[in-house]
């Protein structure tokens, strides 16, 4: 029994030591306040940044005034999108992108996340702890898009603020 407990402690202590040593720079960045909005290394994904509701509203107003190259992308499920979304947003459900077809259907992914003419992409999901906007932003970034803004407040914050909504297209 003692050997059993000793073994468990050995593994746990070694894990803490190794984890700390290997991830020390990352731990320092976390302690300094990074990654609060999402676990994205913005040094690696330079084209991605997080935006507030006010900034999203501003971009939405510009889009409504006919600004070119500005696209809103909704990464939630098709059902959620149909129930209500930011007017003019494009539905790209992350689950469909990731699980569509066979694992080797990389081309399908590419087709779904290709936005000709778009320069600024605003991506949102449900809000709260939802992560699909971040995952989709990374995929889009990997496709070469360089200005991707994640509205972390998401649909919850948008609808709570009483902003314009659109139902199923």
């Amino acid at each position: 029994m003692r050997r059993l407990i000793r073994g468990v402690l050995v593994i746990l202590v070694l894990s803490v030591v190794l984890g700390t040593i290997v991830n020390f720079p990352l731990i320092r960045r976390f302690a300094a306040g990074e990654f609060k909005q999402g676990f994205v290394d913005l040094r690696e994904y330079e084209g991605i940044r997080f935006i507030t509701l006010a900034e999203t509203e501003d971009l939405f107003a510009r889009r409504m005034q006919g600004a070119e190259g500005l696209l809103f992308v909704d990464s939630r499920s098709l059902e959620d999108f149909a129930a209500g979304h930011i007017p003019g947003a494009l539905s790209i459900p992350l689950e469909e992108v990731q699980h569509s077809g066979k694992p080797e259907a990389g081309q399908d992914w590419g087709r779904m996340i290709d936005f000709p003419g778009a320069q600024v992409l605003v991506i949102y999901c449900e809000g709260g702890d939802c992560q699909t906007s971040i995952s989709l932003a990374k995929l889009i970034h990997d496709r070469g898009y360089q200005d991707i803004r994640i509205f972390s407040g998401g649909w919850a914050e948008w609808s709570a603020a009483g902003l314009p909504e659109e139902k199923a297209q």
């Binding site: 029994m1 050997r3 059993l4 407990i5 000793r6 073994g7 468990v8 050995v10 593994i11 746990l12 070694l14 894990s15 803490v16 190794l18 984890g19 700390t20 290997v22 991830n23 990352l26 731990i27 976390f30 990654f35 609060k36 999402g38 676990f39 994205v40 290394d41 499920s77 689950e95 990731q98 699980h99 709260g128 702890d129 939802c130 992560q131 971040i134 995952s135």
Partner: protein
């Protein structure tokens, strides 16, 4: 206190050293592989943990930083037979936790990738629970087994 030898006849199978070695290699190998993939990209793993919508930010980060090392070390120890029962116990506890987490995600309708194997991860679904359950049985067999001629 250590348990005595199992009653005669009960565990001819789980006293088979070759079978136990086979199980240790399978379970240990899976854990080394799973842990190594997560160690390679702790932020992606942290995000996977957040996907389950159970843990707060700081806890998700700490799990992402330390848990993969527990997986790799337990897996490696289990394979080489160093602190065999301790590693099997830790792995069993982890698997119970994983099963619970995936079951919770399914019950709440959270659609997420499991995050188990880094970018090779698949959807957190029933088949994943079954896979984890099989690994859990293997790990428990190793934990409770008393290979002939071996004290620990």
């Amino acid at each position: 206190m250590e348990c005595g030898r199992p009653p005669r006849g009960k565990s001819a199978v789980i006293r088979n050293r070759w079978l136990l070695l086979f199980l240790r290699i399978i379970v240990g190998g899976v854990f080394i592989w799973a842990g190594a993939l997560k160690i390679a990209d702790p932020l992606a793993f942290a995000q996977s943990i957040k996907n389950y919508q159970v843990f707060p930010n700081a806890l998700a980060f700490l799990i992402a930083v330390f848990l993969p090392w527990v997986e790799v070390l337990s897996g490696a120890f289990l394979m080489i037979g160093f602190y065999r029962r301790s590693s099997a116990l830790l792995i069993s506890l982890l698997l119970i936790g994983f099963i619970g987490l995936v079951a919770l995600a399914l019950a709440r309708g959270v659609d997420t990738s499991c995050g188990c194997f880094g970018s090779f991860s698949r959807r957190a679904d029933l088949s994943l629970i079954l896979t984890d359950a099989v690994l859990l049985v293997f790990a428990l067999v190793v934990f409770f087994a008393r290979p002939s001629g071996q004290s620990d």
